[in-house]
Symmetry: C2
Subunit: 602 residues, 2 copies
């Protein structure tokens, strides 16, 4: 599969253009402001300041911010942003050690501990800096960071691969592996791919040093990677590792790595993934747990792990294009990932529960012995603020996930429906869609290609016309297959009907309940629209449900509420009282104050 | 209301006699063995042993054990047990300080900190020692501990009430208050009652020192006690305090204390109590939380708090006899309290969840970052082993909770149905019952009295005959009222039909579900009988349910199991597959190995 850059596929309008504009105009600057206030940019000057010692992963926060800026600048000019980028790169380059090493924590506060502490995210930070450098170079924003990071990568090669004089072989937080693959793609220097492969091969073989409170599953060091068949441990770590594994499997034609990737992907999507695409169900270790353990109130579902799952789907599709990868990509994209950001683009969720009881939060406000409760509203910055810049860089890359193409560019795949334009193998495509709220896609095509249009799992019927003539769609392996030559107008409509979705019988938390989906969107209800205790609301049917596009998309449904006497326990069954339930997309929750939220209904 | 001792009402057979025999023959000795092994008895010798420093509340463990032994010896002779008691009392008396003070931790390891650390259970331990001393004296087992504890109580009076030179006024863990009331009842020395009243009055007025991780609700010091209207904080602390408040309200005719007691009782039973009678829903602080917060898997429901709720019901009934107090006593007795002990009498639960997923426990066995999970099986001793001796002393006192009588002894109340005999005001009662598994009670009566027989809330019809003649029962305020003179045989049958019980609509965890009760018993299902994922089992009806008394009581019910495809999420609703569900009393769960358990069904 060919790789598309964000310039190869230009987002032209609709849902995603609005989101990218918000990102470019608000989010990137607001994150910068918060990172500046908290000392993350200042730390790059590598001056000791005991009052503001950098967190061990601050470098990665700045790096992801830089990477976001690269994608933004690739798609529009912004002098203010460009200036901040240049100044930041200046500072990093000025303080890189002569050997190539750069880490604001280690070189200032623990220079004697460089490459000596496996748990402390050193190569993780390096990886994110490399990703930023590659993005800045690829879109010709600036190349000094790339040059600096080549030197850093060479230093890592020397220490880990040649001298082998480091205290560990694999980093406690995977990331460097996938970054080295990107560096290889940018430089075509095979040593970086080999180093990535080396780190993958070593994982689970010898490193045993880790946090005292965690076991080796936490960073996927419990087994050699090729032998791993289930998703274990810290979800972001796991998925970053699998991403690199899929990359290396593709680039090296490594069948056993590919097999491990397929197996862990299957384990995730068949047993360990929330309806929203969320993964890592517990806050105890931010980890995958055991099959079907998907608690709603206690969900962790970190925004970063959602993003990582989407990247993993994308990389698997590049390894072997299958509709399922894009289907899961779409699920995590429109649900868990988008939930990470507030409507105004300023605030973020780290944890994304599928059910919120704000009274738990209120209780905690009054008590020192607190119950576990995720945040009921997004905030602008976290102490560990990995998710905000990750989300920005992801959203800015959306164009690159829309299309696929065979290496000979004869077959073009439309994998996601995003209003956008691309040109490939001489063919031009212009796609306009009202997704995610509608099911229509209009495609202006010119050139000659086999076009493959992915059929979403949620559709309730397809209507297809070419040049205003209705055509019976021929569906192959999850795609509508068309052979096109010349200029054509393709009009596609995937019928959306709101649907109940049911969890597997083994998902104990969801037994006897159902969720509502509308197209790719998982819907939720909030107490601000529907009053308290959503758990007592039953939806007998979705007949007559009314979709409405106002400021928020809403689906209004006739429902009923279970009512009891005031007694705590009673022999009298509850009675049903009719009520109207207003559902909104899950991603839009918690934008109107603190309250209750629910996805799974009686 | 008159108070009954365990000698005033002799347990004669049936369910409770069996349990008491097990207690007297197995439990008391097994707990002794475990307490000895762990150094709790040795610590009484007050010899410094840095390898076995006593836990700050070890004295209370031994004290509750002594109190249990007193009730056992009051009801049967046992030389071995008596010898251990005497030896233990010898040791305590030999090491009491000349001033009267006794505490194995403070006098050996922190003599300069005596009465200086509010959080450290010093008066809590004193209280339990006083309770033990009073019990040993009351049943004439031995009186040296009583004499010793009078001296200790006098020393406490002197320091807290006269000199007022202690670093705190109220103990961080209530208990001394209720113990001083018992000491007053035994000695008729009003100063002990006044000291109890003083401690109650001071609570919430000035003491602010507490654990850094807890606020003042934790030990009910957030408000003056008389102003408290809701149950807050650590459940055992709260209930021990309320017990003393009810005692002092009764003995001093204190209306505002009585009002506070009524209010917190209402708050508990209307908003904060599990169906099993469990209280303190969270392990974060072992505490009451907010109304209707009653999670099943994460339930805490400590055995000690269940026992404390029963004591509180008993004390409230002595303050003002109302059927509701005995009804709640019965609920917590047959469910949460009895669940605390294993069938063989050797092992105990501290935490009593209403739902168990053993796969969480299995996951934790393999992981260092553990999920929260209560123990799936009882154990013989805990590091904090308050529950086992508390349970033993409670079960041994069961006789004292069966009857009530007006002060003039003209009205006799049967509050609990336990096979037993009593004599009061010249009247003799002999009660034989098959409860809790049946609803029958046969009472042989002689003498003259107004007899009041409590009508359980769970009955589905009453049949009553006197001297084999059927009589229409006259029910007044929850009691069948009979005027008797001479010798009579009363035959009573409360019809039991298994019933669904529903939680209030605001109990979010139980919405859409129902539990099954049989007489006073809350039933549960276990995976050992019914296979995995009990959450997917629906009980459409209890028609045709079959009760069976085998080794365990069982109720066999036709049910259905929701079945889905193997997909994690699907648009196809689950189908129902008929199955047979075997339910057992909740108290009997976890006696056949580790597995899943559930109370609330679809």
């Amino acid at each position: 599969m060919k790789t598309f850059s964000v310039r190869d596929a230009k987002v032209t309008g609709g849902f995603w253009k609005e989101l990218q504009d918000l990102n470019a105009q608000v989010s990137i600057f607001n994150i910068y402001k918060r990172f500046e206030e908290t000392g993350r940019f200042k730390a790059l000057e590598c001056v000791m300041d005991e009052a503001h010692v950098p967190h061990i992963f601050w470098d990665s926060d700045v790096a992801k911010w830089l990477e976001s800026a690269a994608y933004i600048l690739a798609q529009r000019e912004d002098e203010t942003l460009r200036n901040i980028v240049e100044k930041t790169v200046d500072t990093i380059c000025a303080h890189q050690l002569p050997c190539g090493y750069f880490n604001t924590y280690y070189q200032v506060y623990a220079p004697d501990k460089i490459f000596a502490q496996r748990t402390e995210h050193e190569l993780y930070c390096a990886g994110h800096l490399i990703e930023a450098a590659v993005a800045l170079k690829e879109y010709k924003i600036e190349e000094r960071l790339y040059a600096a990071m080549l030197r850093y990568a060479d230093y890592i090669c020397e220490r880990f691969l040649v001298k082998k004089d480091t205290a560990f072989t694999t980093c406690g937080h995977p990331e460097i592996e996938l970054a080295l693959v990107k560096l290889y793609a940018a430089s075509r220097d095979k040593k970086y791919l080999d180093l990535a492969a080396f780190f993958l091969d070593e994982r689970g073989k010898s490193d045993t040093d880790f946090y005292p409170w965690a076991d080796l599953t936490y960073d996927q060091s419990h087994l050699p990677l090729r032998q791993q068949r289930t998703a274990e441990g810290h979800a972001v770590r796991a998925l970053y590792l699998y991403i690199a594994a899929a990359d290396v499997a593709r680039l090296k034609g490594d069948a056993s790595l590919a097999e491990a990737c397929r197996a862990v992907f299957g384990d995730i999507v068949e047993k360990k993934m929330y309806l929203t695409g969320g993964t890592g169900s517990t806050h105890f270790g931010e980890a995958f747990t055991f099959p079907y353990d998907l608690p709603n109130v206690f969900a962790y579902s970190e925004t970063c792990s959602a993003i990582a799952l989407a990247f993993f789907c994308d990389r698997l599709a590049k390894l072997e294009n299958k509709a399922i990868y894009h289907e899961i990509f779409e699920r995590v994209l429109y649900n868990n990932i988008l939930a990470g950001e507030s409507k105004d683009g300023k605030a973020f969720f780290y944890v994304n529960p599928l059910e919120m009881h704000a009274d738990i939060y209120d209780y905690n406000e009054k008590r020192k012995s607190k119950l576990y409760c995720p945040l009921p509203e997004r905030v602008e910055v976290f102490d560990c603020s990995c998710c905000p810049p990750n989300l920005i860089r992801f959203i800015e890359q959306i164009g690159s996930f829309v299309y696929g193409a065979s290496e000979d560019e004869r077959v073009i795949f439309v994998n996601q429906y995003v209003s956008s334009e691309t040109e490939i193998g001489g063919a031009c495509l212009s796609l306009r869609t009202d997704m995610p709220y509608g099911g229509k896609a209009e495609i202006s095509f010119s050139g000659r290609a086999e076009l493959r249009l992915r059929v979403p799992a949620w559709q309730n019927g397809i209507s297809l016309s070419i040049d205003q003539k209705e055509v019976a769609p021929r569906v192959e392996a999850g795609y509508i297959a068309l052979e096109l030559d010349g200029e054509h107008e393709i009009s596609l409509n995937f019928l959306i009907r709101p649907r109940f979705v049911y969890a597997n019988e083994n998902v104990s938390c969801d037994c006897g309940r159902k969720a509502v989906e509308y197209g790719p969107l998982v819907l939720c209800g909030e107490s601000v629209d529907n009053g308290g205790n959503l758990r007592a609301v039953r939806i007998p049917s979705l007949d007559g449900a009314k979709a409405d596009r106002g400021e928020y998309f809403t689906l209004t449904v006739a429902a009923e509420r279970l009512r009891t006497s005031s007694a705590l326990y009673s022999y009298d069954p509850p009675v049903s009282e009719p009520c109207t339930l207003k559902l909104i997309p899950y991603f839009a929750w918690a934008n109107r104050g603190k309250g209750d939220m629910q996805i799974w209904w009686l």
